[in-house]
């Protein structure tokens, strides 16, 4: 069943046009990867879906409802949760307060139980409950950002480069976490520079080039696509890619 459908989406910043008619769809329970070069518009696409940016045209249907005009706090209420690029945790709040902020839209009694669950899922956070989040390491901050997003019980999780700037071992850990989240039935839209890992994990993937979807297919198809290999996996496979696979 389709949970998100984006159609002919145009968006940008004032005069600057970034997205030129993007279309994609996400089915419940799958991980969909989005890869693309720096500046292709990946972050812009996520921000438009989550309502931080108002599009200039196009449609965004979430569970069948048009959410194009909704501001970010309303899309969160509907069940879309974005983990922003660069681990946007609240640095001056404790780990526990960050998790509570994750449940900001919830009024039910299950919040405390969910906090316990997240802390069990991420033991590093459990040990640091009362620590200011700004003092966490990069990997711990990313775990917190993901854990906090889960606190909203999202029906669609948007992740913007969760592996950015992290050591290979931590990246492995994050991808393992994401795999676990899918097994629990979460739906994830994953933006990544780390194309190989993202496509290995994803059920399906899209390639975004200068604001347009250039290619789509199953994760495996994209991994085997000569164009994708040349542009997004090529160099990596010969040099850094080898090192990364060995390390992980």
């Amino acid at each position: 069943m389709t949970i998100l459908e984006v159609d002919g989406l145009h968006a940008g910043y004032g005069q600057i046009r970034v997205l030129h008619g993007v279309g994609l769809s996400i089915t419940r329970g799958e991980i969909v990867g989005l890869i693309g070069a720096n500046g292709a518009g990946k972050t812009t696409l996520l921000k438009t879906i989550s309502g931080l940016i108002r599009p200039n045209g196009g449609r965004i249907l979430f569970e069948g409802r048009d959410i194009v005009r909704l501001p970010a706090h309303r899309t969160v209420e509907m069940g879309i949760c974005q983990v922003a690029e660069g681990r946007a945790i609240l640095k001056r709040m404790t780990v526990l307060e960050n998790l509570k902020m994750g449940a900001h839209t919830r009024r039910d009694a299950g919040v405390d139980a969910d906090i316990g669950q997240i802390l069990r899922k991420f033991p590093v956070l459990d040990e640091r409950q009362t620590q200011l989040a700004g003092t966490l390491s990069g990997g711990e901050q990313q775990m917190l950002a993901i854990g906090r997003a889960l606190m909203a019980r999202p029906r669609l999780l948007l992740l913007d480069e969760p592996s950015l700037g992290l050591a290979p071992m931590i990246v492995t850990q994050i991808f393992r976490t994401l795999r676990g989240l899918r097994e629990e039935g979460n739906t994830i839209f994953l933006v990544e520079q780390n194309a190989r890992r993202a496509l290995q994990l994803a059920d399906r993937g899209y390639v975004l080039e200068r604001g347009r979807i250039a290619l789509e297919g199953s994760g495996e198809d994209l991994l085997n696509d000569p164009g994708v290999q040349r542009t997004y996996l090529g160099k990596q496979a010969e040099t850094t890619g080898n090192r990364q696979t060995r390390l992980s």
Binding site: P71, H73, V76, C81, A84, L90, R92, M93, M101, H104
Partner: protein, 291 residues
């Protein structure tokens, strides 16, 4: 009489803190210096006065409550009609807009209440208590108690409540807060309302303390509270609480040992030294955080 001076300083400082907390809260969520905040304080004083004058049943508590309601409403109006409509990519526009509010409020007050100093009636029976060498009046105790209680209530609000957390999140990042489901515009309005109500309380307390108020009383307090905000660290609420009391003490001590005429001079010396050597404030942070 150092002990006596410290009590006086605490009293003076506590009202600086109340006003400075408002500046700090608003600066936290919008990076905006709310220029008219001192005028909100002044409006609070006049509302308190007139509640006492108009209503036979009114005591000082009713006066404070009335002032809080009206200044809270004023905060809402300023946020919705003077700040948010112009808060669209021109960083100076909201500042200039609040300068406009200052002019409007002052002239309104002069037109309605007259430009002269007005006596604030005695609302609390003067009783002097002697504790060893110290003398404390019932008025002083009242002012101090109200100021400290208000600060404690504010701290609990910021530290413990859902809305308080949302205010702290918003002052870290509008975008992050929005992605967590916080209605940032609403948080900004609530922040203005809370900050303004605190200034309203401070205004009434000032009337009680000085037994007289004028439409121009906002300026001096605004400047002092600004120094306090800088002392405490931009956006740092507990910092503003402590720094306000510190400045009050310093002022009373300089006034009593060096004379009243150098008091304000000294305040600005502190400000200049601070800007030169500790631009992030005494406590070196830029935060709204719990204790």
């Amino acid at each position: 009489m150092l002990g006596q001076q410290l009590i006086n300083g605490l009293m003076l400082g506590a009202s600086y803190s109340l006003v400075a907390i408002g500046y700090t809260l608003i600066f936290g969520v919008l990076r905006l210096l709310h220029f008219a905040h001192g005028e909100v304080f002044m409006v609070g004083a006049f509302i308190g006065l007139h509640v006492v004058l108009w209503f036979a049943f009114a005591n000082i508590y009713v006066a404070i409550a009335g002032a809080m309601v009206v200044t809270a409403l004023l905060g809402w109006i300023v946020a919705r009609f003077a700040v948010q409509p112009v808060d669209k990519g021109y960083p100076l526009a909201p500042l200039i807009s609040t300068i406009g509010v200052t002019i409007v409020l002052q002239n309104l007050a002069i037109n309605i209440f007259g430009g002269e100093q007005v006596a604030f009636p005695e609302t609390i029976e003067q009783i002097l208590y002697r504790i060893g060498p110290l003398t404390i009046s019932s008025v002083q105790i009242f002012i101090l108690a109200v100021a400290l209680l208000s600060m404690a209530a504010l701290w609990l609000f910021i530290d413990r409540t859902r809305m308080g957390r949302a205010i702290r999140a918003t002052s870290e990042s509008h975008e992050t807060a929005a992605l967590l489901g916080v209605d940032v515009n609403r948080v900004v309005v609530v922040t203005f309302v809370v900050a303004s109500a605190l200034a309203g309380i401070a205004g009434v307390l000032d009337g009680v303390k000085n037994s007289a108020i004028t439409p121009h009383m906002g300026l001096e307090v605004a400047v002092k509270a600004l120094v306090v905000m800088l002392l405490g660290g931009l956006g740092n609420v507990p910092g503003a609480m402590v720094a306000g009391i510190l400045l009050g003490m310093v002022e009373i001590l300089t006034a009593s040992y060096l004379g009243t005429s150098v008091r304000d001079f000294f305040t600005f010396v502190i400000l200049i030294l601070l800007l030169l050597y500790r631009p992030t404030g005494l406590f070196g942070t830029r935060t709204i955080e719990s204790g």
